[in-house]
């Protein structure tokens, strides 16, 4: 059932892209007009929200032990139900964690692509990936007895790295290009540190390096409780700030003259996205690729107005991670394929498609 569901949605997405490119001029024009309407954008957002609900239900049902949807419902409110143990204790926390991670990462990516005015900006641009893995390795090697504080260390590490990059790029304000370049340089440096640690402390690390591979396997309610505050902040941002984001997109000069304090706002946004992405990495490891592709897909469908882009990204992020994780859970006869692998297999071809597209500036 799930596989069919997944295939159908891919076909639908593929069809949208096909018609975007191949539609005749006239069709293109009418379609363009329709695609600009509020009604269309709201429909898409509602449809995506429904997809999230449907995906959650289906993903609760499928797996090594499959249940019917009524059985799943029963497990939700009846503590004695047969499916309770698996559905309530194993699948729901995992699905919700995946969903929250998807929301946090896509919001972070969405914000950053706007702040940097760059299509390639993602949480790794502001050092979240490098900062998180560096601090993660450091904790495992230097303080192995504190491995349980890894999530907190990861969030702090990525946030600190972001601030260092911001500081390095700062000179009477931060230009997006400077920030991206400093981010690349700092990430490269941390990458080298990581390699050194991996080379010299291979024994201590043992198989602990698994935190590098993004996975949702074995996530429990406490993980969900850890990420939920960040998600709430992220969603609050997306409800309160679209107008400001839209103004920032007009460029610093224009935004300044419209009365937006661009520098302060940018720092705020960078900090928020760093925390969002850091929390996701703490829960699910490095699957930040979501932060790159989800905003792009959302933008292709609902356009760049943040009023629509934020909600679309939230739902798309949730659905994509949950569906990919479930695909990874059921695709192998035995064992799990980690969510980051499934995401990359789907995300990378899409990204290549974006590169081939003419109007990617």
């Amino acid at each position: 059932m799930l596989r069919k569901n997944g295939r159908d949605s891919f076909l639908a997405v593929a069809a949208v892209f096909y018609f975007r490119q191949k539609g005749s001029c006239k069709m293109e024009a009418t379609k363009q007009k329709f695609k600009q309407t509020k009604a269309f954008k709201l429909t898409v957002i509602v449809a995506l929200a429904c997809t999230c609900v449907a995906a959650t239900l289906v993903c609760m049902a499928v797996g090594s032990l499959s249940y019917t949807i009524p059985e799943v419902f029963q497990a939700l409110y009846d503590t004695e139900a047969e499916a309770r143990l698996i559905v309530w204790n194993v699948r729901i926390p995992r699905i919700l964690c995946g969903g929250m991670v998807g929301i946090c990462l896509s919001l972070a990516g969405c914000i950053l692509q706007g702040v940097m005015r760059n299509h390639l900006a993602s949480p790794s641009t502001i050092g979240v990936t490098s900062g998180a893995s560096f601090v993660g390795y450091l904790t495992l090697v230097a303080l192995p007895q504190y491995a349980h504080i890894l999530p907190v260390a990861t969030i702090l590490g990525s946030f600190a790295t972001t601030m260092v990059i911001y500081g390095l790029a700062y000179e009477k304000g931060v230009s997006p290009v400077k920030m991206i370049l400093s981010g690349m340089a700092v990430s490269a440096m941390f990458g080298a540190f990581n390699d050194i640690i991996r080379t010299f402390f291979a024994e201590q690390l043992g198989n602990a390096s698994s935190f590098m591979v993004g996975t949702l396997n074995g996530r429990v309610w406490s993980d969900f409780r850890m990420i939920i505050p960040y998600m709430v902040v992220g969603v609050a941002v997306c409800f309160l700030l679209p107008a400001k984001m839209n103004i920032l997109m007009l460029g610093d000069e224009m935004a300044n003259s419209l009365g937006l304090r661009t520098e302060r706002f940018r720092l705020f946004l960078i900090a928020v996205s760093s925390l969002l992405a850091g929390a996701s990495v703490a829960v699910a490891g490095l699957i930040s690729f979501v932060g790159l592709i989800v905003p792009h897909i959302a933008r292709l469908i609902v356009g760049s107005d943040y009023k629509y882009l934020f909600p679309a990204s939230i739902f798309l992020g949730y659905a994509l991670v949950v569906i990919c994780d479930t695909i990874g859970r059921v695709i192998l006869p035995v064992g799990d394929l980690s969510v980051s692998i499934v995401l990359s297999f789907i995300g990378a071809p899409f990204f290549l498609y974006l590169l081939r597209k003419k109007n990617v500036a």
Binding site: M249, G251, E253, M254, S257, G259, L260, G303, S304
Partner: protein, 258 residues
């Protein structure tokens, strides 16, 4: 002083671009700043949205330093249109124009009925009403520029600063934009300050002209006195003939040679 620059000096690193430049702009008039490339015209305008911070001096509005105004309050008084603008390609004209209402927006709220009326009025005034839902991407340069000007008008400013508003446009659109600017000045009594490179358009559409050269104000006055053989020679190092454009009531400059 209503609006102007008070002893402004601007430097990039050790290079001083402008030194002790003072200008005063008359209320309700179009004033154009001209001068050779790199003389600091654009930098001077950029001190108003605070993109460029002067090392010395200040911008004055109604006798007070611009820095004493809250950013949003200032945005309701002074609008600025940079030479190069960036925006997402897939928003429509109406959406762009509505961004001009940002300074009036309360945190977290949407457009009010009053905002919508003002947007409609502005679209009407700038001749864009019939194409409000066209995407910026599909517009010609002239239409785009009109949309951007409409956005600044939506701020309901008293003063509008335009940095080279006609630079990338063909001659038809150049006239169209400048006619629009004149109309804004006459109908809405907006004080206009702009930077132009075309001497003849400057002569035709300005009430007053400031000439900048080597980081200083070289001259100031009415187009009839400024657009002269001597100014062209001293500032741009060209020989020229000045004839009278009787129909438009302004001087017309024919450049000759270096």
């Amino acid at each position: 002083m209503y609006f102007g620059f008070d002893n402004i000096s601007i430097a990039y690193g050790k290079r001083t671009i402008l030194e002790d430049v003072s200008m005063e702009f008359e209320k309700g008039k179009i004033t154009t700043v001209i001068g050779p490339n790199g003389c600091g015209k654009s930098s001077l305008l950029k001190t108003v949205p605070r993109t460029v911070t002067p090392v010395k001096g200040s911008v004055l509005f109604e006798g007070k330093d611009l820095r004493s105004y809250a950013p949003k309050e200032l945005a309701k008084k002074i609008a600025y249109l940079p030479q190069l603008h960036t925006s997402p390609a897939d928003i429509d004209i109406r959406t762009l124009v509505s961004y001009g209402r940002y300074p009036y927006k309360r945190f977290g709220s949407g457009l009010t009925a009053e905002d919508r009326d003002i947007i409609d009025e502005t679209l009407e005034l700038t001749g864009l009403s019939h194409m409000g839902n066209r995407l910026l991407n599909n517009l010609s340069g002239g239409e785009k520029q009109r949309a951007w000007i409409a956005m600044t008008i939506c701020q309901k400013p008293e003063i509008l600063l335009l940095d080279e508003p006609i630079t990338y446009l063909d001659i038809g659109y150049q006239i169209e934009v400048l006619e629009l600017v004149r109309e804004l000045c006459e109908r809405l009594h907006i004080t206009i300050v702009m930077v132009l490179h075309d001497m003849n358009f400057t002569a035709r559409y300005s009430h007053r002209i400031y000439v900048l050269k080597d980081g200083h104000v070289f001259d100031y006055g009415h187009p009839d006195t400024i657009i002269s053989h001597n100014t062209m020679k001293d500032v741009f190092h060209i020989e020229s003939q000045i004839i009278r454009d009787g129909k438009n009531g302004c001087p017309f400059m024919i450049p000759e040679k270096l």
